[in-house]
């Protein structure tokens, strides 16, 4: 039979000020209970508000919260872990012991490294966590209603999604390290279609607050593109010069970024392997493109240290707390660095390089309008979709254009073109950039969970549109 409700005063699950669980207190208790040689504790709290709509009416929505506590116990060079969201005080010791018990009999961790030393407790360690709720849309919802009305009058259907999330992470270790990071990030993206779905356009924007989002301006952009679509042009498969919007560029950049694991390259199983047991660092693989991450970027700040509950080829749990700083992955097209956890850095005799959760493609060139004006013939592509790796050796990927491909001739948009399936390595595509626009916020469509990207528009010389797609 189901148990009884736990009285609300028995444990601190809920507290005023957006705190779901008192993680600083729980973390101290876990570290006090730990009998392992070393211990890492990670607390996460997330709140989220979202609204989704289709055919100019709301469909789903939500105001949600979630929490997770991860305890990583290290005994000798073995590591065990437990992650839970339900944390009554009387369960804590059991969870700690469980994480310790899972070390027994396990193989040693190949990525074992001594934990990083602490530098004191951050001043905001016990501050209330970031929080959001449905009220974040109080100003946005009436504007969105205005978009529905305007779209309806223009005989258009809109489909879209607006989401705002707030998260706080606490990281503490038995070596005295304490790190905390809070942030808020959201986005809105809208697709507009004619009632028969034969013409379609998409636009979107990332935001930290929703105060800076004007859905009416997004509708302006959508209507302009749909007006370009009044003339529809059928084009065959082939290699085309393309003007890629920042959304496409960020998807290509991320497509090349996610291959950047040093160990894979050293082992010969990566597009960044040189074929003779080393990496291609130092080679000009990306034409003139500079690509970097910067946790301190003013528009897309991210957690400035590594935090993770599981190791993979690119990261290690033993690096929890490792500071992340600006890192140039490519500079003027030359590959400069690959993700390297400390254990692999020690093995390979190279510096450790943490993965960073934002990505910026540098550009201070012309605007897209200027690029269009000096185009003899090219396809202007709004966004990509369903990108998948076909061949990891060359990073060959396949994907599709979506919601807006336009033919540009002699400096003008002539009309919309059918969609295409493309086959292209993102590395090869970026290497063929002959013109780099001006960097701004970018919302990748394929990698839609990656909200911290900035990119310019790019002109790419020969893009392999492998076959037409009927999709509209």
């Amino acid at each position: 039979m189901p148990g009884r409700v736990v009285p609300s005063d028995q444990y601190p699950q809920h507290r005023a000020g957006g705190t779901l669980i008192d993680f600083p207190q729980i973390i101290d208790r876990v570290l006090g209970l730990s009998r392992a040689d070393a211990c890492i504790v990670i607390g996460r709290q997330n709140t989220n508000a979202n609204v989704r709509w289709a055919n100019n009416t709301v469909t789903t929505n939500g105001a949600t919260e979630s929490v997770a506590l991860s305890i990583l116990s290290i005994v000798g060079r073995r590591i065990g872990s437990a992650t839970r969201s339900y944390l009554p005080p009387e369960h804590l010791e059991r969870i700690v012991r469980e994480s310790e018990a899972t070390c027994e009999g396990k193989p040693v961790a190949p990525d074992y490294m001594p934990l990083l030393a602490g530098e004191g407790t951050p001043h905001d360690w016990s501050a209330p966590p970031a929080a959001t709720d449905i009220r974040v849309f109080d100003a946005f919802a009436p504007k969105l209603r205005g978009v529905f009305d305007r779209a309806g009058r223009a005989d258009l259907q809109t489909f879209g999604f607006a989401e705002h999330g707030a998260s706080t992470i606490w990281l503490a270790t038995s070596s005295g390290l304490r790190r905390r990071h809070s942030d808020c990030i959201g986005k809105v993206d809208i697709t507009a279609k004619t009632p028969d779905f034969s013409r379609s356009s998409w636009a979107g924007a990332a935001t930290a607050t929703f105060a800076d989002i004007d859905p009416g301006a997004l509708l302006d952009t959508l209507q302009q593109r749909l007006s370009w679509s009044e003339r529809q042009i059928e084009l065959p498969a082939g290699h085309y010069e393309v003007l890629l919007e920042p959304s496409c560029v960020s998807d290509l950049a991320l497509g090349s970024y996610f291959f950047m694991t040093r160990r894979d390259a050293d082992e010969g199983r990566s597009p960044y392997s040189n074929g003779t047991g080393g990496t291609r660092i130092g080679e000009r693989l990306f034409g003139r493109v500079t690509m970097y991450s910067d946790p301190a970027d003013s528009q897309i700040p991210v957690t400035p240290f590594h935090v993770g509950v599981a190791s993979d080829g690119a990261t290690s749990v033993f690096d929890n707390g490792l500071p992340a700083v600006r890192m140039d992955w490519t500079r003027d097209g030359v590959l400069r660095a690959l993700f390297t956890p400390r254990f692999w850095a020690a093995k390979a005799g190279v510096p450790a390089v943490p993965y960073v959760n934002n990505l910026i493609v540098a550009g201070d060139g012309p605007t897209m309008n200027d690029m269009i004006r000096r185009t003899r013939r090219a396809l202007l592509v709004t966004c990509f979709w369903y990108i998948r790796t076909v061949d990891p050796q060359t990073a060959l990927q396949t994907g599709l254009t979506r919601d807006g491909v336009f033919l540009v001739e002699n400096g003008e948009v002539k009309g919309s073109v059918n969609n295409f399936r493309w086959n292209m390595s993102p590395i090869a595509a970026l290497a063929q950039a002959t013109e780099i626009g001006r960097t701004g916020m970018a919302l990748p469509r394929e990698h839609d969970e990656f909200l911290r990207a900035k990119a310019p528009a790019l002109r790419i010389e020969r893009f392999n549109m492998s076959s037409p797609s009927q999709a509209s």
Binding site: N61, P107, F137
Partner: protein, 500 residues
């Protein structure tokens, strides 16, 4: 399979009381419909890279949600505090969401009727994977990798298992009280062979599908280890094989590959929420629009496809969906013609389908149920057509085994798939492997080119753990049963040439 849940850790949780508090508050605040869902989700991912354990990370998540309709508008909220006060507060928040967003709603929500149930569903699982000692699971993978590396034909190998258990409690204002428990497992292995002289490398895996089963799937049912044993030799042969000449070929597609083509081109195109535009901003729409129902010749007359949430060991198999609708089986394509869709209660009512066929699913307590895919399966030929019969009917073609890369457009027309192994067929016989193969087609062209369907001896229940859809994004497990099948004159690309 239906019997009682005996897990004391789940039964000790206060879901009944929380449901009572939440539903009462929702009703008090004017909700005309309310449901309460309580989820306990456990997962464990173990990854072994070469001869080393890379990660072993178990996790458990517990939470609940309240979904209401007030004045014709949805409201949804989710919480983690397992107290009656907090449950009532989450219900109030769901009502507040409905009130706040009501001005954006021009279409009052009405749900198709469904009987009230008090029931328990438990999927069949012989060995609970969460009771197997962690070291045994790690050793299983270490042994797999060791055999790969000991072959001398594999330079690197990564293997993994993902284990999942889902316990849910659903209660509605109408009176339903449903408890469910499901277990599923997935395992795979990727072997890498590097040509030291050129730096070229190839990868291959054993093409073992996931299943709604327990740990026994790996040890006694799936033949995972035996299939993995075949990989080094096949990978070595693939490395040395010729690159395919692009063009049109007859294809015999193994169920280890065809399940994914079914998933992408049939499963997604017959989701009614896509047809109606609910996914237009994300996953896309569908070419299989309502005007084509009972008219569109989707495929060859030998094509019969069902949707179900009932097949044993299916990843989408349940007793009831996340709106409290009892599991069903129905036709989607009959004799090649489109005859059915996947529904939830709102869409079933709106489009006058009568009753929902039970396709609502939410992957986490903080996510709202969406219309998600049931098990969508291609029926086997009632005659005993063997794989050799299908291959024997091909003069110049390719036999494709195992899934790898996949992509399809947002209206489900244009797709491209690769595979793990490609065997050249000449004059009805396999004559060796080729590589760099991708097949590209338009959905209805492809299925109308089906010229042979294998019998039960070729049938396999394939599937995926990670079907993505919705905003915020959700993943869903789903199975696809199918036999091997023969397709005439399908466009084959050479992926090496595509990359240049």
């Amino acid at each position: 399979m239906t019997h009682s849940i005996t897990d004391p850790a789940f039964l000790a949780l206060p879901f009944e009381s929380l449901a009572g508090a939440a539903l009462a508050r929702a009703k008090q605040l004017g909700a005309t419909y309310a449901d309460f869902r309580f989820d306990r989700l456990r997962g464990h991912t173990i990854v072994v890279r070469d001869r080393e354990l890379q990660t072993s990370a178990p996790a458990e998540s517990i939470g609940f949600s309240v979904r209401v309709i007030k004045n014709g508008s949805w409201g949804f909220a989710a919480g983690v505090d397992l107290t009656a006060d907090a449950a009532a507060a989450v219900a109030a928040r769901a009502v507040d969401v409905a009130d706040t967003l009501a001005p954006l709603n021009v279409e009052p929500v009405i749900l198709a009727d469904e009987p009230v149930y008090t029931d328990t569903y438990v999927s069949r699982c012989d060995i609970d994977p969460f009771t197997v000692p962690e070291q045994d699971k790690i050793n299983f993978l270490l042994a797999l990798n060791d055999r790969q590396l000991a072959s001398g034909k594999v330079d690197h190998v990564t293997s993994y298992v993902i284990l999942a258990a889902e316990q849910k409690f659903f209660a509605s204002l109408a009176g339903s009280r449903i408890m469910q428990q499901r277990v599923r497992v997935r395992g795979d292995l990727t072997a890498v062979r590097i040509d030291k002289s050129t730096g070229a490398f190839e990868t291959m895996g054993p093409a073992v599908p996931p299943a709604g089963r327990g740990w026994e799937y790996f040890t006694t049912v799936s033949g995972f280890a035996a299939k993995a044993e075949e990989v080094p030799e096949m990978l070595d042969e693939k490395m040395a094989s010729p690159s395919v000449k692009p063009g049109r070929y007859d294809l015999v597609i193994d169920p280890t590959n065809l399940w994914l083509t079914i998933h992408e081109s049939i499963g997604h195109s017959t989701e009614l929420d896509r047809v109606l535009g609910y996914e237009a901003n994300y996953a896309g729409t569908s070419f299989a629009t309502l005007d084509k129902l009972n008219r569109l010749q989707f495929g060859a007359p030998s094509m019969n496809v069902t949707g179900d949430r009932q097949v044993e060991y299916g990843l989408s198999t349940v007793g009831y969906d996340d709106e409290g609708v009892a599991a069903q089986t129905w036709d989607i394509i009959r004799d090649g013609k489109l005859v059915g869709y996947q529904l939830d209660r709102q869409m079933a009512c709106k489009q006058r389908f009568g009753r929902s066929n039970g396709c609502a699913f939410a992957d986490a307590p903080e996510h709202v149920p969406l219309q998600r895919m049931p098990n969508v399966s291609l029926k086997a030929n009632p005659r005993d057509v063997a794989l050799a019969d299908l291959i024997g009917a091909v003069d110049d073609g390719i036999y494709i085994v195992g899934d790898k890369s996949w992509s399809i457009d947002m209206q489900r027309y244009n797709f491209q798939f690769t595979g793990q192994k490609f065997f050249r067929i000449k004059s009805g016989r396999i004559v060796g492997q080729v590589k760099d193969v991708a097949y590209q087609a338009r959905t209805t062209d492809f299925w109308n080119a089906m010229d042979g369907v294998g019998g039960r001896s070729t049938y396999l229940l394939g599937g995926a753990f990670n079907c993505g859809k919705g905003q915020p994004g959700q993943i869903a497990p789903v199975s696809h049963g199918c036999p091997a099948a023969l397709f005439r004159q399908i466009n084959i690309l050479n992926t090496a040439q595509e990359g240049h």
